[in-house]
């Protein structure tokens, strides 16, 4: 078991290195010169030369890369060209907000999507199944921003139940924090719930046809035990795979949702940084996201081993 964890972790290293190269290279290839932006309107050649020297932009690219990588490893993601603040600080400040939003949305997606998928698989072909599918399809096809705006209109403007925007740290006021997060998380979560439901349904349908579910029934177990103990655990594998992919979707969705609900999270940081060509921040954010993604996949790999005992031996 430990050996498998170890091996999976080792495999992650070259992936991380490759990602770092791509992130570094991407910035070099992008059009637009940040030095020109920094140098201001008059583009004084001396200032430009000074800035190029300051940021080591005259060194050969591999040297720049190695220097950059060294900094990254020490936790130094550079200085924001715009605000002159350390990028790491910015990220550490904004990341928890987005993580909370994403986690909240994921919980909502799971709480709605998985049970709905199970029920529609059990009731396959009935009115319940159709109803769930219709709702799921609408959840998939309604764009986040539209749902967000409509919810703000209805819940905040009409009923005045929840705040329309803003953010309060959970450390300050947990109930206010939940009130501000509920709507954005719901908007973000429902779209994913539809995807989760469809996949849970098809995974469950496959498992429910399997021989071992028939064995479980032939044993005289009640239907609840058959579904939850015998079927669900085996249906989880594709759902885990899907969840890691949804993580990317979640980040992309968060960018938009944070804009609508004016939440000062990661999404807003990315948008601002891209518009001002604040490369250090873009780089830091992309790197962080990529690392997050890779770690999610690592977690999924390890979860597979928990769910599927065959993998424990296969390694």
């Amino acid at each position: 078991m430990i050996e498998i964890v170890f091996r999976r972790c080792i495999v992650v290293l070259p992936t991380l290195l490759l990602v770092s190269m791509l992130v570094f290279g991407m910035q070099k290839l992008l059009p637009g010169d940040p030095i020109l932006t920094m140098a201001g309107e008059d583009r004084d050649p001396e200032t430009i030369a000074y800035l190029q020297e300051k940021y080591h932009l005259n060194d050969p690219i591999p040297v720049q890369y190695v220097a950059w990588l060294g900094q990254i490893v020490r936790g130094d993601l550079g200085i924001s060209l715009r605000t002159e603040q350390p990028v790491l600080g910015l990220i550490v400040q904004k990341l928890p907000v987005t993580i909370q939003l994403a986690a909240f949305a994921m919980v909502i997606a799971f709480v709605i999507g998985v049970p709905a998928g199970i029920i529609s698989a059990i009731r396959k072909g009935t009115a319940t199944d159709y109803a769930i599918n219709v709702v799921a399809l609408s959840g998939l096809s309604i764009p986040n921003f539209w749902l967000g705006l409509m919810l703000i209109l209805l819940v905040s403007v009409q009923w005045q139940l929840l705040p329309a925007s803003g953010y309060t740290s959970p450390l300050e006021d947990i109930s206010q924090n939940l009130r501000t997060m509920l709507m954005p998380a719901f908007v973000l979560g429902t779209g994913l719930a539809g995807v989760l439901m469809r996949h849970t349904r098809s995974a469950m349908l496959g498992v429910l046809r399997s021989d071992y579910v028939r064995t479980a029934r032939a044993k005289g177990l009640n239907e609840k035990t058959v579904i939850l103990r015998h079927a669900l655990k085996n249906a989880l594998v594709p759902i885990i795979t899907l969840s890691t992919l949804l993580f990317g979707e979640l980040l992309a969705g968060a960018v938009l949702t944070e804009q609508i609900f004016t939440i000062p999270g990661f999404g807003k940081l990315i948008v601002d940084a891209v518009f001002t060509r604040d490369y250090a921040v873009v780089q830091g954010v992309v790197l962080c996201t990529a690392v997050g993604f890779i770690l999610m996949n690592l977690v999924a790999d390890l979860l597979y081993i928990v769910v599927n005992p065959r993998l424990r031996d296969a390694a």
Binding site: Y212, T215, G220, T225, H230, V307
Partner: protein, 606 residues
């Protein structure tokens, strides 16, 4: 007379399809007396498994309907509410299934899966149940049961998994055990062990058994009474000995005549076709005597010292940890017009041998010559020509035809790929080929799903013949087919051999079929040929202990000759996985007869 445990009266099971109810079981009635075994025998689609699932009420609700009366010890099962039916399932009636590989939940330990049944029906505490399960695992003769308790199913072989299924079924001491093809997926020696186990346990427990099977040999071996089903109807039922000795219905007769019977070829020198039963009169026509097809010129195929290892890699750095010695230094030859059967159980290397010969897998070492031409050291392009001369037929006719290709295209494809025919001419050839395998030329444009398993296997044979090969490797080519279809396909292969002087490498685990079709037999065990010789000599005078064990495990379709009265060895099949430094022992062959060699065996067989 004691009242029956199970009494089925006018059972009719129907499925809802496109707005109409189609019955799959039609008004069948039978009884199972206490402590007896009743076999339901029939081919695919006969409704035998549907009958079992109807009794258990395990058919999917909604689109299925069960009518009639099913009474367990006088209590009508069809009228019970679902909740009470649950206390019958696994408790009063238990069931074991065909596929031990998929019938256990892969994500739960085997121990827990049995514990569950005990907790559900017997109100035992977890600790009591666990102790009981270990006793049960020991009763089904699982070695070191205690250690096995926490194993997941994938660690167990098929035979061991079926034992777990049996332990699970017996956990609550049911009055009736329904066994749905419990040995079909198992190797013949393992099958014999499981049959013996079921019989022993039945005696100890005094339960009744409803045994569902397609194998007449198994029926003869185990059943007191037999029910024969055909397309949903019960066509004949009675005492097993009566059914075998004096079959009344035409279908029963044709079924019995199609069953290959081990030992029926004694005294016959050449392969023999199966007798064809006239569907109206039910009289079996004597098959024509086999012709001498073998040419004595140079053998078409000569295999020398063929060896194939597969590497096993382990650990962080994927280092070489061992090797599977799939094929170990084997040599044999086949003449034109001759059938050499390669027999053995799962994992013995027979399929790898076949695949190596047509170079679907590259052998580790050795030489293979086709009509004197070395085919292992030829380049890709000249090997393409060689490939025309040998073709392969596979086990599963459902999986070996592309479902998106018209069958005519499938048959024509090799000719067009090798440019032996123009597309136009190929179409004509396909018509001829279809006729030669007993199908109509008009089916060119149809798709595989429109055909039955037997027809598909004929199509596969037509495809294999399309390049006019001299050698055909038939890998378990008839194993997936129903008995009567199997007989027809074998007759077809013998016809083709006679007409085209084909050489067959017939790979099979079925000793009775092999006895019928082959001129010579090679017995494989753990990658090695342990005995090779003429069919008459190997079957009539087996030398190697493994050959003897294999032959004695085959159930004989004759209730008068129940084989496994003798105690069987309770061995697992061994595995050919070896350490890196494994020294292959040198085991010389000794001559037993004019055409009969046997490998000297070691102390493990003593």
């Amino acid at each position: 007379m004691t009242p029956p445990i199970l009494s089925v009266t006018r059972l009719r099971t129907s499925f809802h399809n496109d707005g109409i109810w189609t019955p799959v079981v039609r008004d069948i009635s039978f009884d199972v007396a206490p402590k007896t075994t009743v076999a339901i025998v029939g081919e695919s689609g006969s409704g035998k498994s549907m009958t079992a699932l109807s009794i258990m009420r395990l058919l999917p609700g909604g689109n299925s309907k069960v009518e009639g009366r099913i009474a367990l010890a006088g209590r009508s099962l069809l009228d019970l509410p679902e909740k009470e039916m649950r206390s019958v399932r696994g408790n009063e009636i238990a069931m074991i299934f065909q596929e031990p590989m998929t019938s256990l939940n892969p994500s739960l330990t085997i121990g827990f899966q049995i514990v569950e049944a005990l907790i559900c029906h017997r109100n035992m505490s977890r600790a009591e149940a666990e102790a009981e399960v270990i006793r049960l695992l020991e009763r089904v003769r699982i070695p070191s049961a205690k250690a096995r308790f926490n194993d997941y199913p994938h660690r167990l072989s098929g035979g061991m998994r079926q034992r777990v299924m049996i332990a699970m079924a017996l956990a609550c001491k049911p009055k009736l055990l329904i066994a749905d093809e419990p040995t079909t997926a198992l190797d013949v020696t393992i099958q014999a062990q499981i049959l013996e186990l079921i019989r022993d346990l039945q005696e100890e427990e005094g339960m009744a058994v409803l045994f569902i099977t397609h194998d007449m040999g198994v029926v003869a071996e185990i059943a007191d009474r037999t029910i024969v089903m055909l397309r949903g109807d019960l066509v004949e039922s009675g005492d097993t000995a009566d059914i075998f000795n004096n079959p009344q219905h035409v279908y029963t007769r044709s079924l019995l005549s199609a069953v290959p019977k081990l030992g029926s070829m004694t005294g016959k020198a050449r392969p023999l076709r199966f007798p064809v039963v006239d569907q109206k009169t039910g009289i079996a026509a004597e098959p024509p005597a086999g012709f001498d097809t073998i040419s004595i010129a140079r053998p078409i195929l000569e295999v020398k010292n063929l060896t194939k290892y597969f590497d096993i890699r382990k650990g962080v750095l994927r280092g070489l940890a061992g090797r599977v010695h799939a094929v170990e230094n084997i040599s044999f030859s086949i003449h034109r017009g001759e059938t050499l059967a390669l027999v053995g159980e799962s994992g013995c290397g027979k399929s790898t041998t076949g695949r190596s010969i047509v170079r679907l897998t590259e052998p580790t070492s050795g030489s293979i010559q086709l009509a004197g031409e070395d085919i292992l050291n030829t380049g890709k392009s000249s090997f393409r020509d060689t490939r025309k001369r040998m073709q392969m037929i596979f086990q599963d006719p459902y999986a070996s035809l592309n479902p998106r290709m018209r069958i005519g295209e499938s048959i024509a494809e090799p000719m067009i790929a090798h440019a032996t025919e123009t597309p136009k001419r190929a179409r004509e050839r396909v018509g001829e080929l279809l006729k030669s395998v007993g199908l109509s030329a008009e089916i060119y444009d149809r798709y595989p799903h429109e055909f039955s398993g037997g027809q598909r296997q004929r199509i596969c044979i037509a495809r294999a013949l399309s390049l006019g090969p001299e050698l055909i490797v038939a890998d378990e080519a008839v194993s997936a087919l129903d008995v009567s279809i199997k007989a027809q396909v074998i007759n077809l292969m013998l016809d083709l051999q006679e007409r085209l002087k084909l050489a067959f490498l017939f790979i099979s685990h079925d000793m009775a079929v092999v006895e019928r079709i082959s001129h010579r037999v090679a017995v494989m065990y753990l990658g090695e040929i342990v005995e090779i010789g003429s069919r008459a000599s190997v079957f009539g005078n087996p030398q190697h202990p493994y050959t003897k064990r294999l032959l004695s495990a085959v159930p004989i379709p004759d209730p008068g000759l129940r084989v496994s009265k003798k105690r069987l060895v309770n061995d697992e099949l061994k595995s050919p996985i070896r350490a890196l430094d494994y020294q292959v022992p040198v085991r010389p062959f000794k001559q037993v007869g004019p055409n009969h060699m046997v490998q000297e065996w070691g102390a493990e067989w003593a």
